[in-house]
Amino acid sequence: MRLTTGGTPSKSFRRPVVGKVSREALREGERADRILVIDRIPAHVGELAGYSGFLTTAKVERQRSPVPTISSVHEIDHLRTNDIVAMEPNNGFIRTLYRPDSNHNVIFATHRCNSNCLMCSQPPQDRDDAAASAERNLQLIRLIDKPPARLVITGGEPTLLGERLLTIIAALRDKFPETYLHMLTNGRIFAWPAFTARLAEVKHPDFVLGIPLYSDDSTIHDYVVQAQGAFDQTVIGLHQLARYGLRVEIRVVLHAVTVPRLAQLAEYIYRNLTFAEHIALMGLENIGYTPRNMAKLWVDPHDYQDQLEEAVELLSTRGMNVSIYNHQLCVLRRSLWKFARKSISDWKNIYIEECASCGVREHCGGFFKWATKIHSSHIHSLSPMLNEDLMHVGSNHKPAQITDS
């Protein structure tokens, strides 16, 4: 599934535009906040009056466009009426920000991050985009019509937006109080009680923070996130959040650095972070920084089933709500199937050749689309199973929502 495309920006177009796609021409009164997307050039420039922007696959010959325009767009088939997109003036980049029919929409808060994880799937960029990001996201929230079931705030590290982040969460609270809101954050900033208190004051009615913890040993955690002192800040931050009644989920990415002490980490979470309402043990995503650190990180999921089973057993017998994300059923031990979730967002979820003949494919979460380069060498198709066997897949009580990254 495609979420980005691009073309040639027109000269008159200076500031980024966020608007809602229309694949058909609209009457003049209905064009506000709309971006017209067609495969031709209107016969008369007046036909573009009132739109926020114009995208076309056709080539525009040096004429002045009355609205921000990107022409010679490579691909528009994925753009559907009511999708919300951002048009970039400098490079002609067109990013889909929101798809009303998807359950995997995100608020992308910022590119910046104060950590630099070895396996970051979305490597940070060191430029101050706070003001622009906040503006873009507030515009996005204004344009969403139908309340989504769920939204995820991600980045970068969203808390680097500071007060602007609180404004975004407050806007979501006011417009979509019924929407489950999940925020992926390293949690370090919550070591400062003042900010935690401010977040709690927003009183979003259905809000969970997903926070990674990679080891019970501070040295290993700090190494994974490449930041001295991060472990202390995250653990203190988690306690501050709990103190203010904010809900948290712990997220652990499984790789060669985190797997050896996985059971000890599970015990640490139970003893120190008992208040966590969900623990997600997640497969490695081969994108971003991961490929370049693969030598340090790779372990075939088939080879860590013992550690995974021990950690899951430890947490689940202690009444903790634990899930396994991003793993294929054919590499997971059968005892773990009930903890497996179909966790990968629709736009990056694939199945590979071996899956074609698999009898349990519809119960399996499949792969990230970048898994084609490297995945477990034990992937194989399974024969169809009786319903009673399959009933157990994901049958352990489910978290309210699943978010992969």
Binding site: P123, T219, D222
Partner: protein, 499 residues
């Protein structure tokens, strides 16, 4: 943007060495020692580990180093010692102290139809006036109980046989409920009865008032009837019939049973446990006999050696675990309490095994004559003429008088095992308790002498036995332990293992 990644060495401590945080240790067996931190987190390690640890010879980067750092036995400069975290865990462990006295035992009469050998206090008489709690004393007792700062209060109605004084119960219950509502307190009511005199009307009353029943079942007929003589020698048959009837009227979850261990019981742990399973109970409490009251006087008949009790307990616990393995959920209550302390971040407010001791702080006994005692055992001592733990009387003492009086202060001076000789440096201190009343009764002073203390030997024996079970790391045993801890059936515990 090209980013640089630094090796793990960049994130470990820059200074050589580490600091010790508070912990205690003991030898578990020939090969292993047990190290326990201030909040009850533990490490079972090969013998010699404690010595290496305190000599600062642990190798940085080794697994045991990481574990001891993560469990806050040591701190180095790679991380702050996270003392706030330790404080939070300490607070959690001791949250049972919050609210002060929660369990309030009312002795509504001393009269009883049974004449159990081990019973300390009951009287076989029809004289209502002398041995029943008067309405006036009952009202004053309720007033005193409501002075407790606890938000959640349990009122236990016992005797003697409390159903023989049902008019007193009917006087206390609505009064206590009214006062609780007024003061916004939650009130649980339990009646401890042998059920022999329970009419249907009484049971309907208990049902309507949402009162739970705790009854006595000592085992199969030959044990129960031997332990609990009554006219007709039919205590067992009556008990079983009445449990059945009480369950029908109140619901199965509202009727619990307790057993008392005697010399005879010691020889029959399996038969006793089988009886509990046969009667459909899902918990059993393998209790040691108390050294009070008639139990002391008839020591020849019911007294027994600690070793014999330990054998009984271990055999019983093994058998109970086997029953659980076979699919019937049956918790041993004492093990459940200890396992909660050992395996979870939580504490338990079990008044017989906590520090500070439950006496007075978490439990108060209101005798039929208005005297207030720190524990049920204190009242039994008083029946034998020793009034050391009589804290006051509801007619003459206020809440403040009671908790600032000499009797109470004497008691609390020995209430914390954190500061008792022989306890303060014991690795099992966070799991154990102190019992100044027991110390006084058996050793002549509230502080006691640990090397000769039966309380110490028994609890150390049981706790070490449980650590033996835990150290085997049998996933099935751990599932059973956590099913007990969480009051859940084995099926509810998500089982990673072939389902």
């Amino acid at each position: 943007m090209a980013r640089v990644f630094y090796p793990i060495e960049s994130y470990s401590a820059s200074q050589v060495g580490y600091r010790l945080l508070p912990f205690r240790f003991l030898r578990l067996d020939d090969d292993n020692e047990l190290l326990v931190n201030e909040v009850g987190e533990f490490v079972i390690a090969p013998s010699g580990t404690a010595q290496i640890l305190v000599r600062k010879q642990l190798t940085r980067g080794s697994d045991v180093y990481s574990t001891l750092k993560a469990k806050q036995f040591i701190a180095d400069d790679s991380s702050s010692p996270l003392l706030d975290l330790l404080a939070t865990k300490y607070r959690t462990k001791y949250s049972f102290i919050e609210g002060f006295t929660k369990l309030h035992i009312f002795v509504v009469t001393l009269r009883c139809d049974h004449s159990c050998h081990y019973c300390q206090v009951s009287r076989q008489t029809a004289d209502k006036n002398t041995y029943d709690m008067s309405f006036e004393t009952a009202e004053k007792s309720v007033s005193l109980m409501m002075k407790s700062p606890a938000r959640h209060i349990t009122l236990e109605l016992q005797g003697g046989e409390p159903l023989l004084a049902f008019d007193v119960i009917r006087h206390i219950v609505p009064l206590a409920k009214r006062r609780a509502k007024l003061l916004d307190k939650d009130l649980d009511i339990v009646v401890t009865t042998n059920l022999a005199n329970a009419t249907d009307d009484m049971l309907f009353y208990l049902r309507d008032e949402n009162i739970k029943i705790s009854t006595s079942l000592d085992g199969p007929a030959f044990i129960h009837n031997a332990n609990r003589p009554r006219p007709g020698n039919n205590s067992y048959e009556l008990t079983i019939q009445n449990i059945e009837r009480a369950r029908k009227i109140l619901g199965p979850g509202r009727v619990a049973a307790l057993m008392t261990t005697t010399q005879l019981s010691l020889e029959h742990p399996r038969e006793i446990i089988d009886e509990y399973v046969r009667q459909g109970f899902h918990s059993i409490f393998l209790r040691p006999i108390s050294p009070y009251g008639f139990a002391v006087k008839t020591k020849k008949r019911t007294g027994y050696q600690l070793d014999a009790f330990m054998d009984f307990y271990r055999t019983g616990l093994d058998y109970i675990l086997q029953i659980n393995r076979e699919g019937y959920g049956l918790a041993e209550v004492y093990a459940k309490i200890l396992l909660t302390k050992i395996l979870t971040p939580y504490g338990t407010g079990f008044v017989d095994l906590q520090s500070p001791a439950g006496a007075g702080i978490n439990v108060l006994v209101y005798n039929y004559d208005g005297d207030v005692y720190a524990t049920d055992e204190s009242r039994m001592l008083a029946e034998m003429g020793d009034h050391t733990f009589r804290l006051g009387n509801v007619r003459t003492h206020t809440h403040r008088d009671i908790f600032t009086g000499d009797a109470f202060l004497n008691l609390v001076s020995a209430s914390c095992n954190q500061s008792l000789a022989g306890c303060s440096d014991c690795a099992l201190q966070p799991y154990c308790g102190s019992d100044p009343v027991f110390n006084h009764a058996t050793q002549g002073d509230v502080f006691g002498h640990r090397p000769t203390s039966e309380f110490c030997q028994r609890n150390m024996g049981i706790i070490k036995h449980l650590f033996g079970l835990i150290s085997n790391q049998d996933p099935e045993i751990m599932r059973i332990c956590f099913a007990w801890i969480q009051n859940s059936s084995l099926h509810e515990i998500s089982k990673a293992g072939p389902s």
